[in-house]
């Protein structure tokens, strides 16, 4: 995956769309697949979320594995189990190979055990193949320990507030660099309100501490500032609030992610241009981009 052969950490976006997949000509640039991101470092591949983007990732992983003739060892971290973040899992081809080892990590704070939530979406009423038909060695691990270590990568995490049924944010620490994945959170309720409760102030502080100095923050920016007032309580953030919080926490690079299904490429280009120009003035130390399917950045 790394053209130079040099050890680098690569972040690839396989799905960047929020809520529902949006195939079609007007979304082909930023992509129509729902969330899936990989972080690759040497032989370690970490997958974050199993939206519809994980289908293409699966095909690519198999192409590579068949070329090398080696089994796959994969780690999938789920932010939460809303459909747009798990719906691709039944179409993830490596999960149908006996030689694959797949560990799925997620919140322990589900009403039902994480395994039963994942099995539920493959109930016969919804999908013709049961989860037991996935022949890979699949282990489901609820996040309990404060940190998880996978070779050179150390992962920390926190539960997030202000998303219906909750979500997790993850920090991936590799060779002194930090990548944070923190989507599906309504930051406007933490940072935008005039009269904050004590709890909100604590949660806001925790969020800022978590993203502090991140080399890359992948953040929920589903709405524009103008759209947000009509979408309060939906569990997603407005772009201006994300920008301000990231800048305050001295984030080095910010990827706006979880694009609204109503936002066409043209519209995303327009708001990107608007914010890009303003960001250069307001937050000069922070690079800003809109996450785009098929894009790989090196950290």
């Amino acid at each position: 995956m790394n053209p130079s052969g040099r050890t680098r950490t690569l972040v690839t976006f396989w799905g960047t769309r929020g809520s529902i997949s949006t195939p079609g000509r007007i979304t082909e640039k930023y992509g129509g697949n729902t969330p899936c991101v990989t972080i690759s470092h040497n032989d370690t591949t970490i997958i974050i979320d199993a939206g519809t983007g994980i289908r293409n990732l699966g095909l690519e992983l198999l192409r590579e594995a068949n070329g090398k003739g080696s089994p796959l060892t994969l780690h999938l971290f789920l932010s939460h189990t809303h459909w747009d973040h798990i719906q691709g899992l039944p179409f993830f081809q490596p999960a149908y190979r006996e030689s694959t080892r797949l560990t799925i990590y997620g919140s322990s704070k589900k009403e039902r055990f994480l395994a039963s939530v994942l099995k539920g979406q493959m109930d016969y009423e919804y999908f013709p193949v049961a989860m037991t038909a996935l022949t890979a060695d699949i282990r489901i691990q609820e996040m309990t320990a404060e940190k998880v270590r996978l070779g050179p990568i150390e992962i920390d995490w926190e539960e997030q507030v202000y998303h219906p049924a909750g979500s997790l944010r993850y920090g991936f620490n590799i060779d002194g660099k930090r990548i944070v994945f923190a989507t599906d959170i309504e930051l406007d309720l933490l940072f935008g309100k005039r009269n904050k409760t004590y709890e909100d102030a604590v949660h806001a502080e925790q969020y800022l501490n978590f993203i502090e100095g991140a080399d890359l923050l992948i953040a929920d920016g589903q709405f524009t500032g103008e759209e947000y007032p009509e979408r309060i309580g939906w569990g997603h953030s407005s772009i201006p609030v994300v920008l301000k919080a990231a800048s305050r926490a001295r984030v080095k690079q910010l990827a706006i992610f979880h694009h609204d299904p109503q936002h066409s490429d043209k519209f995303l280009d327009e708001i990107w241009m608007k914010h890009r120009i303003r960001n250069g003035v307001d937050h000069p130390g922070m690079d800003l981009f809109w996450a785009r399917e098929g894009m790989t950045v090196a950290i």
Binding site: N2, P3, S4, R6, R8, L10, T12, R25, E28, K29, D265, R276, D287, F289, R292, E293, G294, M295, T296, V297, A298
Partner: protein, 138 residues
């Protein structure tokens, strides 16, 4: 429109079967996928000779070295700066470990699927990627 669509529209005029035809056209379109018909690069630098560089199925290496398929004698372009290749029905570009990086629409990337009107920057060289697509039956 897909050629089958036109054929069906013609059939509709002749047979006064508009509603059925709309459904048939819809089906034909749904069974079609957009495929790349022509892709090319435009050089945007005022100092460089204006030309279009057609892209096909072959890999194309861009850089300063004389062995490159597309050569720019510009100091801040690496000897082998980037590679453009056709993979999985789409054009991709990747940085070949260049000194000054590869930028798509101002974003530094290691690899990226190219889309129509993407601006590619390598050092002082600026290229525009254009792609024309047509519908093809699946």
């Amino acid at each position: 429109m897909h050629p089958e669509g036109w054929k069906m529209m013609k059939w509709a005029e002749d047979h006064d079967g508009f509603t059925t035809t709309v459904e048939m056209v819809r089906t034909a379109l749904a069974e079609s996928i957009p495929v790349s018909e022509r892709a090319y690069l435009q050089i945007l630098n005022p100092r460089e000779r204006k030309r279009l560089i057609e892209l096909g199925g072959e890999d194309v290496v861009v850089g300063r070295s004389p062995e490159c398929d597309i050569r720019f004698a510009v100091g801040n372009v690496s000897r082998r700066h980037a590679r453009i290749f056709f993979y999985n029905e789409e054009f991709m570009i990747e940085d070949l470990d260049s000194t000054n990086g590869l930028f798509i629409n101002g974003v530094k990337v290691l690899r990226c699927a190219l889309r129509n009107n993407d601006q590619i920057a390598m050092g002082d060289v600026m290229l525009l990627f254009n792609e024309e697509k047509r519908l093809q039956p699946r």
